[in-house]
Symmetry: C2
Amino acid sequence: MADVKWNLKAVDVKREANVPSDIQISRNQKPRPIAELARDIGIKDEELEAYGDKKAKVSLNLLKRLDKSENGKYVLVVGMTPTPLGEGKSTTTIGLAQSLFSQHSNPSFACVRQPSQGPTFGIKGGAAGGGYSQVIPMEEFNLHLTGDIHAITAANNLLAAAIDARIFHEATQADDALFNRLVPKNKEGKRLLTDIQKRRLQRLKIEVPEDAEKLSPEDRKRFARLDIDPDTITWSRVIDTSDRFLRKIEVGHGPTEKGHVRKTDFRISVGSELMAILALSLSLADMRERIGKIVVATDKFGQPVTADDFGVTGAMTVLMKDTIKPTLMQTIEGTPVFVHAGPFANIAHGASSVIADKLALKLVGKDGYVVTEAGFGFDIGGEKFLDIKARSSGLIPDVVVIVATVRALKMHGGGPPVGPGNLPAEYRTPNLDLLEKGCDSNLKKQIENIKKFGLPVIVCINQFSTDSQKELNLVKEKASSFGAVGVVSNHWAKGGEGAKDLAQAVKDSASQKNDFKFLYDLNKSIKEKIETIATEIYGAKDVEYSESAEKSIKRYTEQGFGNLPLCMAKTQLSLSHDPSKKGAPTGFTLPISEVSISVGAGFIFPLCGEIMTMPGLNTRPCFYDIDIDPVTEVIDGLF
Amino acid sequence: MADVKWNLKAVDVKREANVPSDIQISRNQKPRPIAELARDIGIKDEELEAYGDKKAKVSLNLLKRLDKSENGKYVLVVGMTPTPLGEGKSTTTIGLAQSLFSQHSNPSFACVRQPSQGPTFGIKGGAAGGGYSQVIPMEEFNLHLTGDIHAITAANNLLAAAIDARIFHEATQADDALFNRLVPKNKEGKRLLTDIQKRRLQRLKIEVPEDAEKLSPEDRKRFARLDIDPDTITWSRVIDTSDRFLRKIEVGHGPTEKGHVRKTDFRISVGSELMAILALSLSLADMRERIGKIVVATDKFGQPVTADDFGVTGAMTVLMKDTIKPTLMQTIEGTPVFVHAGPFANIAHGASSVIADKLALKLVGKDGYVVTEAGFGFDIGGEKFLDIKARSSGLIPDVVVIVATVRALKMHGGGPPVGPGNLPAEYRTPNLDLLEKGCDSNLKKQIENIKKFGLPVIVCINQFSTDSQKELNLVKEKASSFGAVGVVSNHWAKGGEGAKDLAQAVKDSASQKNDFKFLYDLNKSIKEKIETIATEIYGAKDVEYSESAEKSIKRYTEQGFGNLPLCMAKTQLSLSHDPSKKGAPTGFTLPISEVSISVGAGFIFPLCGEIMTMPGLNTRPCFYDIDIDPVTEVIDGLF
């Protein structure tokens, strides 16, 4: 089968030298009808589900149709350890994709994550890139999109409701009543089991009878009672709102719940295991299987209790059936973008979906490029991208682009703290000393880390107007001395044109052969894997486990989950577990406070200290600035 | 301007005499592409926002364009007091719309509510009508639709999060710190107020300065402190899942919340005031204004605290901006349907949106018919439809169709209790005695109630296969003796054809002049209004108020809300407040346990006894039967 030919033309953007606000840029550029764009890149009308005319879901039939096509090159964008302000990784992902297409005429795609509405309405506004490297329209990108996060919320909470309701019904009903309600008699007086109930019997190694009435009293009881140990429940409710008062709650205070009060929590929706499952699934069938395998608790006999045991696998999959299709949007220059999945980058792996990357690689064809990104710094998001996502998908990046800023490098070189509304003079005026120290510590270590995977590295120096030429040159030289290619990129101010050199460097490196290898072997023990990451990537001298972590490791190993990859939950603000330690700390002991598991997603997540899974609202959340003109429907404040 | 001409043709449905399951019927009938259907009824392509090819949102620009067109006839479908099994009101609404079009060639529209996913995955499966009178595809109707409920959930919970966070920040910060954070200095060193902050100052009768720095310390404090009395908070969080353990919860148990624990609850999302607001809004501007007016609590000085005081009006409107557009779908016979809004029928008014009805009335034109429905029995849903929705929209029905079943009539005549899986012999074999008693009590009273509004009444006898001809005839005669027109309708088994006589009766009655009047004058006191409804509609002899209800009535009257209409929250299973009292009870005292308010929606809701605002999951929820074939994507179990 011939490769797909694109009829797409880059859109000409009229840029102003004095870069306007993100929302102004987004508003000035009228997006093309998404159905036209889809046709231009070889998607058939029947493979597209429009959601209005600016975004559309793409059917997985396309993947089947393009099965024999050659893949394009796969470009992974990662970060150095960021300041709390962010260093422009998404903007770089979008700018690079724009440039490969508009400046180099290579078919290209950006694959990005769907943002959570929690932070969007809380502390930071939207997440569609910035300047002249943006996904448009930003309102559509930031609001609801095509409903995937809402569907995940619904499926997650159906399981949560099922858990508490089941514990309640088991506690308040005798064995017979429980069994008879679970398998009611049909009109012919038979108790027929549904498929999902048969699967539970099979897991219990009980032979499946035609009429469940024939089960022995003992087997009925084993079937009907999940016997959950409430203290072991790890499944949280979720909500896509930053609501700090839900971080820890007590449920069951209503009189109808008869005193069955329990402490639990709400996470932000993107922290649901279902989001990680969506991001890693290869097909609807795979997603359904992963959902069924989710472990939500341990029973009183030490055995895992799964979503399938509650009979809810099918319903959850039905609620999530459309999420499996990536959403097609466009950049300001008319480059196609897939927005798909957005798992948390701490308790999950933080990368957009395997399916979007797969589809995009087929769509761009052998001369094309797919630019995808990993969350946070390479130590967190990059390592997980390679050891979890790439391992699961079989898609290995051809080149890694690490985004660095003079600002972040100075911070790692010993500059004073940086935060929203707080950027001391060191960061606004040249300071080669701080800069060099930052290069020699954090940047050097992050590059070394990438090289452990055998991949070529490009350092993208994301240019700010306050950067001096000497500073930019220094970073380039340093990058080169660390065995990487350093390129200054100005895509924020100049769009694809500003990233022309970066795109050229990507093309040069991606065509080289590489010696990719994973960091660790899955068959190593959980502790060996933790220690490999801690010492090799983070720079720790050793690892210390809490009593509870020791217990969990033992339990998961006994339950047969020891060979899953790891998803380390660690602060993104330091290579170590201590956010105040900048540069490249060494000699520290990494504390593992707890070890949890996402069997459906397929990873174990050790927690290095406290990890916040629900953001909060500060005194003046950014929603104060958000409004809509009810006549023109123009939205303000989503910057 | 000429009336819209329809190019639409009714779809021929191949019916089986042995009516298959709802899902089977839905699956056998391929829906037309919704964009084609829209064109056929005069909607322009640019007025349509596709969500896939089976549902689409309709822009409100259409309302502007058709502003001068004549309205069609407006048909309201209501119920008698139902059995717990439901008497087929939605099915009748859809069957009647089908018949008016397919059998009588009149342009027609059905306007129905979006169902909550809570019950869909809990106790009852989908809600798209039934038999050969259905909205298709039922999966799309029952799952997410176009995201309106999810958007309402997000907006509702943003306000809830803002309330608790604000109380926390006020409790933990000094006046100056709080003020300075709420109105931070800009780059020029000035403290500029946003529009929403200026509105708060105006409500406080404080002159708005250019630079907020100029406010006196006292004014700063009044501005910055909402001083909410936590015991008066009436705003709940919501979730579209049946989760009984959230009926009463304690939030704030996390260490970051420093002991600010508070008891609160989650409601099902359709119980949010925002759903009632959506259903009653006339435009985006109206919706935004209503959102700002929502009262969430009382401050320590007895004054109402509104959504606008939190600075969140604009953000909530932005989250809900697309909900204002009705979703277009179709019946199995290709009749157009608007699915829009679905407020609870107890703590809210239970009818689909004003905007959908308005749009549909313009689209069908003067020879056309719009069939819309009210929740529960006429005593609940019908009275509210007329006194709240019609009063607010100015659209008065031309005729009221009350759906009765032989089954429900027998129950009211003294038959034994009826429930899911429990239909005693009396209901399956002829019993003229029970039937007559049911007609003479409940049906008679409901008809009398409708006539108090001065509207013509048609009794639609929704036929079941177990009904005898004598029984059907008896109900017809009885209806006639009560001053209504009785018609047997068999739309469940025969679609539009089965409702041909019903449609003819509707046409005959709708062309008569009527003497519509509201039940009560808004200027009456809250108590007078409650007593009017209680005695005239419910049959009570008097009303008894709890101490708390007395206090609330006094407070709302003082706050200036006394002239709002009432939205009575009462059981739907009896004309009285006691679900066990069937027929037409009299001589009882109606207890008002509490009185609450929805200022944004624009009504006061007195509670007659305990009202459940969060459904639960039983031992074997219907999700056990729900599954999707991952290859064919066929969904099972949404019956």
